[in-house]
Subunit: 326 residues, 4 copies
């Protein structure tokens, strides 16, 4: 298959680094410009030190002529980047920020929301992709089968724990090791910014209104992962077996989303592009546990999955990563 050239804007951050780690082993991608505003000319391994010995790449400030551009910028900075940089006409854009997830147009460009499990065909024919947020990915995968089958009718209660990498590279009080180790704390209760894209996407899948979603985000004591606990009441007379089957069928064509039979734990998805779902039923409620790696299925892994679809590569190409295991 033909090789494409990839550029990354914001290549010094966490999601930029993960993209490099993944793309280094992708058989059809050549890593081109690794753009940064601050470390131009430096070796990639001076910033992403674990890549020492793995590559001889350097940061630059010239995008060159990429076939695909990943935007790994602060939320809100993607539009500014596109305004101030010129790209080849054929260049496809995958934005890992939240600039195009709800308001999905920019000039003549349209961004498809990049959850391949639900918008696979749209993405295959798209020019550009708005890569979903990490919480949004975990939660949409958990609820989309209910929305699509019109079973999402009661208030939803979500408690979702995120790893410290979700807060980005800039150090601060709540990412200080002394604070975060052996600790838990909630933040932005009911008001997390991912609720917009979650509501938007589920409403589209449900073909109408969806019930209120109560989301309590929690800062967890680990580096990687989202562990979401999602609870809602089912409409009356809906059998658990039926719901299980909906989930299984919807995700059967998907290489990365699995409905687990047994008990799942967060670490089973760490360093992979997988999402694991588990259902429990009790007194009319369904509880969905949803686990992803926030930097992979929740960011850079899903971005590569979207890239694979955009360019006609196998969906899992370069994404069969060795699980961390422990």
């Amino acid at each position: 298959m033909k090789t494409i050239k990839a550029a990354i804007a914001g290549a010094t951050g966490y999601t930029g680094g993960e993209l490099i780690r993944v793309l280094l082993n992708h058989p059809y991608v050549e890593i081109g410009a690794l753009l940064t505003s601050s470390r131009c000319g430096q070796a990639v391994s001076a910033v992403h030190k674990d890549l020492y010995g793995d590559c001889d790449l350097h940061f630059t400030d010239a995008p060159g002529e990429p076939d695909v551009l990943f935007l790994c910028l602060a939320h809100g900075a993607s539009r500014e980047f596109l305004r101030t940089h010129s790209l080849p006409a054929h260049c496809k854009i995958i934005d890992l920020g939240n600039d195009f997830r709800v308001d999905n147009t920019f000039g003549d460009k349209t961004f498809v929301y990049g959850i391949p499990e639900w918008f696979r065909e749209d993405i295959r024919h798209a020019g550009h992709v708005a890569n979903p947020g990490c919480f949004a990915t975990a939660i949409i995968l958990a609820l989309a089968p209910l929305a699509a089958t019109r079973l999402l009718t009661s208030d939803v209660h979500i408690h979702a724990v995120t790893g410290a990498t979700g807060a980005g590279k800039q150090p601060g009080e709540t990412t200080h090791f002394s604070y975060r180790a052996s600790n838990l704390s909630i933040y932005k209760p009911f008001t997390h910014q991912h609720l917009a894209e979650i509501n938007h996407t589920l409403a589209a899948l449900a073909g109408g209104v969806i019930p209120p979603i109560n989301m309590i985000p929690v800062r967890g004591d680990f580096t990687r992962g989202i562990f979401a606990s999602v609870l809602t009441r089912l409409p009356e007379n809906v059998a658990a077996e039926q719901v299980q089957e909906y989930y299984r069928n919807y995700y059967a064509p998907s290489p990365f989303v699995h409905l687990a039979a047994g008990t799942i734990s967060l670490k089973e998805v760490v360093n992979t592009n997988k999402a694991l779902l588990q259902l429990h039923f009790h007194n009319g409620y369904v509880h969905i546990t949803s686990a992803i790696d926030n930097l992979l299925k929740g960011a850079s892994g899903q971005a590569v999955q979207n890239m694979n679809l955009l360019f006609g590569f196998p969906e899992d190409c370069g994404l069969r990563l060795k699980n961390i295991g422990f």
Copy 2:
């Protein structure tokens, strides 16, 4: 004040060890028999190694003549212990197991449920105390003001994360460091054994039936603490300020339970007997965050608090512990 003599059955376990740590600094308690079936004659510091240099106590198998006996046995073993050991008639019993929390009688003995913040006067005049479970403590403290004011009328959704010490000293698959580090997993969804005492106690406080409680327990990646996220819908036209005031008033006389104004985090209670509560209101819902140290307010600290009430000591005597901070 007169000194009392305390004995501990099951003194080699986690809660037994915490009792020793706390009682060593209690001004009115002399530690008597530290009972064990397996390490009889050994130094306490051979098992609780951190006590090396702090005491010269040894384990024994003879209860002696204690004024108070703490039972720190496996759940279900307290009744058997009482059947097979004779105690002085005046000896007060504090059971940290779950034997007497719901069915609270044993022969002519009656056990009062030991949440001092709600049953303080009962405990003061009681002979024996059934010390609550760790999850139960965190959740009852969170919901009791709603129950007592008849505001607990809608289904309750709880997501509660526990530290590894909650699983006891016996090593196993889910307490193996390699499994537990950087991991989260749910267990016993909707069916945790503490639900019985939670329902029983809240119903008593509400003076009638209470709504269903959905509880999702989660194994956390830390050693000490319970971090409970509790959500329910308030009856219509109940003002947030009113609810805040109920909580503040109910807990005003309590030295260890605080309604925090700002954001709380789990570590703020670790190594203390405190419970911290925080309320958020949103679209008719109230969300209560409740944090305790599972081994102290959730077990041995609360047991000493109950002992203080039983014997007329100041409620916080010996329990002003230095917070771990970090």
Copy 3:
């Protein structure tokens, strides 16, 4: 006993916070001015959030009339503070910075190096104390018996791991949770700034020159503690039993330093003012494991121990802290 009034400069930092936590329970101390340049007027619990419910203190910028002043400032800032603030003539100063550890005079003030186990009588009669560094405390306690008995004659090799609180409150790259979790890294090999006070103190105890000390500091994956591994060759024909006895005898009068018979682990000292030492002998070498809590015996706990000596309180007054255990 008479109560004294204590002020703390730099009360918003880690060591300042630990001092407050300890002094709150000290029977002979009233906490006076808690000085800060940045949070003046705010509640202490707004910064040290775990103290919510434990005290109603506020930060100030006026030292008042303290009997003892603890300086918890950045290294080098203590001299500047003393130049710019006037203190009561009788006020004793305990500096937790490194300003007076080697060059121990300031105007007419002399600072005694505050390792009570070796300079107890000097401290009792001192006006002011230079509180040792955390690494220095762990290492001096490990080597001082050899120095004092003239057995410290061969090169010393030290590998010492420190918790993240040792790096202070200011967040940075190497205290970011995402970096530090599950990680180890060395820093300042052979050149750590505590070597000056270590060399200075051991030379004084040895009454002459001491051998070179090779020290490799390591950033550890925990919040609290110093775990030092110290190796040196003994002079010929020195029996292990003899060395063990020297250690036991030297530390017999000390309430906080213990020569352990069995295996020690770091957590046995966390949240205490204890130091645990363990000796192994092999082929002419002695290996000393030394463990302390860097914020207590390595900083604020030792400062209170020194305060107790300065004011004639029992040495362990207010310092019988409940060990964290787990």
Copy 4:
């Protein structure tokens, strides 16, 4: 290239699981029999739960006709296994236990010590490989260039910290999360069983005797990794630059061993087959920091590297793993 069939004895343990994770993505290997004495017939994902959705393999007790057999058994059990199982004559054996590392013969079979960086040609022509221990790998890679250049002449002092997976899957006191979290402890000081293969191998490289090696193993507070701190005095008049160059040259042909210019940290090698070395020089001493992933370069990754050499595959085939990063 032709595909080979691999069998694994002891496939339910940590190193067996890692082998499966690596071999699943190896282009020239078909995973054959996954042998176990206890879980025969069960799905691999029932034991290695993170492999759910990644493979449909099951455990068995029949070795079949493998081209290569990995032995992942308890130390000492490999000889017993070979005595009681018959294998095809052409089957090559890679033993991850310590049965053949020093005494390297079994009947007519000879096992080559499998550090590819030093015995690459021997391995290429070998029938069987004794895969080194994890500590041994980290330490031999650190010291071998000195041994080979006859610069290893002074006593060596090693402080090496290991992750909890190094202790194996069976839970116990020192792998209990409550014990291990935020803790450090030494074990087997001076007497670790890997010293035999370390001494044996370095003596072979040095062509004679080597100085005593003092090794202090430490239990670390993380799951994966070995972080070794190695110190020795250089012979007089040996320039640092010369030593640096020896290291660089020796490891230049090796795809996985790198002499880092800057500061290294443990996590840079986690989930990779890399070893990172860093040198510091001070007053005649050289200090070598050596970091590997104990389950990969220290076990299963190196086993696959050896397999690649045995079968003429590229040395790094299947071993370009995505680093965990965080």
